[in-house]
């Protein structure tokens, strides 16, 4: 079983549309994991049935029992996150500011502070329109620990792939270079970087590749909207060859992506097109080199 992770650094490069197309093409060979838990969109194209849903608890948050509190103020003093202001004469924890370190609870002389497990979201196992399985999630509003939810989604997908003897786990990663991305990358066998030939596309590509390099994972790159700017496309190609990154494909700027999406379909289901052929070739190539 191989784990293929699709990431992009920059948002809006077409990462999810391309991942959904691979999920469609891979059919029964694949278990899909939507690890972009912050703004999960794969379900809009793959028609999951949300067969099982489970709450996800991670991290803790402080709560002060006002009856037991003597208002000594020690908790507010040690809190490095300014999460315990005095409101109407009472020390009150601000949930959005609390990092869950538990320092306040440890030093409270009257043990008035409880650290409660936090519900940070929900995760699902679904059957999608190809008949295959997908693991996905929805992060609660402003929740922390999205890295842990990513790890959960990925591990469940891996378990299913092993149980059902599937060849690939296909992971839709999140934008950026922070904890959810690090979580998406850990344990991967192959990374697909989706970029676009814009000044921000190449900037973000280079940064996210720096991160990928630390993991030492084999990497390929798809340049989407490639004909938008030939000069930047050439710069990207040069960067790829200097870093031994496989150039999987260059896809043209094509609004069919949006039309297919509006129709709830991946672009490979949406009639014949050049992009469709290129994505099919890309998937074959990835299977070859992953």
């Amino acid at each position: 079983m191989k784990e293929i992770v699709v990431i992009s650094g920059k948002g809006g490069t077409g990462k999810t549309s391309i991942t959904a197309s691979f999920a469609y093409l891979g059919g029964g060979e694949i278990v899909v994991a939507d690890c972009d838990v912050d703004a999960a969109d794969l379900h809009l194209l793959l028609e999951p049935d949300f067969k099982t849903a489970e709450d996800f608890y991670s991290g803790v948050i402080a709560k002060i029992d006002q009856d037991a509190c003597t208002k000594c103020g020690k908790c507010a003093e040690v809190c490095r996150f300014g999460a315990i202001p005095v409101i109407d004469g009472q020390y009150v924890v601000q949930p959005l500011d609390c990092e869950g370190c538990g320092y306040c609870a440890r030093i409270c002389p009257t043990e008035a502070i409880a650290m409660n497990l936090q519900n940070v979201g929900e995760w699902y196992i679904s059957t999608i329109k190809t008949g295959s399985s997908m693991v996905h999630a929805r992060l609660g509003i402003g929740a922390e620990n999205s890295g842990k939810l990513v790890a959960k989604v990925k591990n469940e997908a891996k378990n299913i792939a092993e149980e059902q003897d599937r060849k690939y786990v296909l992971v839709d990663g999140s934008p950026g270079i922070g904890c959810p991305v690090v979580s998406s990358l850990s344990g991967a066998n192959f990374v697909v970087l989706v970029t676009e030939p814009t000044v921000s596309g190449i900037h973000d590509l280079k940064r996210v590749y720096e991160l990928v390099k630390k993991f030492g994972i084999k990497t390929g790159c798809i340049i989407n909207k490639a004909d938008l700017n030939n000069t930047v496309e050439k710069e990207i190609l040069q960067f790829l060859s200097e870093n031994d990154i496989n150039h999987i494909a260059s896809l043209p700027y094509d609004e069919t992506f949006t039309e297919a999406m509006t129709n709830g379909q991946t672009i490979v289901e949406f009639g014949e097109s050049r992009v469709k052929n290129l994505i099919e070739q890309s998937w074959d190539k990835i299977k070859d080199i992953a």
């Binding site: 912050d38 703004a39 040690v78 959005l96 538990g102 950026g176 676009e196 973000d204 996210v208």
Partner: protein, 288 residues
């Protein structure tokens, strides 16, 4: 006046709106644009000015000092983030997991874990006429964006009065970094595109703003693609659609070269005026 430009979905045009609005307003008055998408900051590719300040930014992490350590294990016990681990004959610290809460350090009976600054990123400040631009970049390998966002916010708050217009380019999503950016804003502009992905992620962003009790409005970018669902949603939820930026390949091409758009696309200037007038009018009237 603090205005944050955010979105659920990435790549909808946050940076395009932030940089163009900042540069346009700076033709007449002082503006501070701060790029708080510290994982992948892009505003600096469109805004050029003279570098006037550069600072390394640090977070405090514990460093083990073996001298008086009795290996009592308290540090490992009090760390909720598994950033301090006790091995047979030593204490190991994983700085990337540390939230700088100081619990291990201050609760250590022998003072064996002093907090030491560790570099997490870099802040740069540029100026071009009325336009002040601050950006922070997280070092690759650092996992937590929030401490750097918080320090960058503090830098801008201390240096610039709240009287001037402050624009903040936010990271995508709805999790902790976005909260850190938007929680102190007077108004949040949510940028979206009229597609199923755009709509879905907009609804998440709207829920987040409502949870935070923020004033907000929507700018629809790439207007003309997709369908009317975003507009219909805003109407039924009584969310103001402040401006619509038409889809155009020419905008995409100019963007790809790192160019500001409003000088070359007059319609865009009209939309920027609408955005600012709306936000200013809303804040002046104290509407919710």
């Amino acid at each position: 006046m603090k205005i944050a430009i955010a979105s659920g979905k990435g790549g909808t045009g946050k940076t395009t709106l932030s940089t163009n609005l900042a540069a346009y307003l700076a033709e007449k008055e002082s503006v501070v644009l701060t790029d708080l998408d510290v994982e992948e900051p892009n505003s600096g590719l469109f805004i050029h000015g003279n570098l006037i300040n550069r600072e390394d930014k640090y977070k405090a992490v514990p460093r083990w000092n073996s001298d008086n350590c009795t290996l009592c294990g308290n540090c490992q016990k009090v760390c909720n983030f598994h950033a301090v681990i006790q091995l047979v004959d030593q204490i190991m610290v994983f700085p990337e997991l540390c939230h700088s809460c100081y619990a291990c350090s201050e609760l250590c009976p022998t003072g064996s874990l002093p907090m030491i600054p560790e570099k997490m990123g870099e802040l740069r400040e540029y100026q071009s006429g009325n336009l002040h631009f601050v950006e922070s970049k997280l070092d690759v390998g650092q996992e937590q964006a929030v401490p750097l966002i918080a320090q960058t916010n503090k830098y801008v708050d201390e240096k610039y009065s709240d009287e001037i217009i402050k624009l903040y380019d936010s990271p995508p999503g709805t999790s902790c970094p976005v909260i850190e950016v938007t929680k102190d804003a007077d108004f949040v502009i949510l940028v979206t595109e009229p597609t199923p992905f755009g709509l879905h992620d907009l609804t998440l962003a709207v829920e987040t703003m409502r949870e935070l009790d923020k004033k907000f409005g929507v700018v629809v970018n790439r207007y003309g693609i997709g369908n009317d669902d975003v507009i219909d949603y805003c109407e039924s939820e009584k969310i103001p659609v402040i401006a619509k930026i038409s889809n155009s390949r020419r905008i995409a091409e100019l963007y790809s070269r790192g160019r500001l758009l409003y000088g070359e696309i007059p319609e865009l200037k009209d939309e920027l005026v609408k955005v600012f007038d709306f936000v200013k009018g809303n804040l002046d009237r104290g509407e919710t």
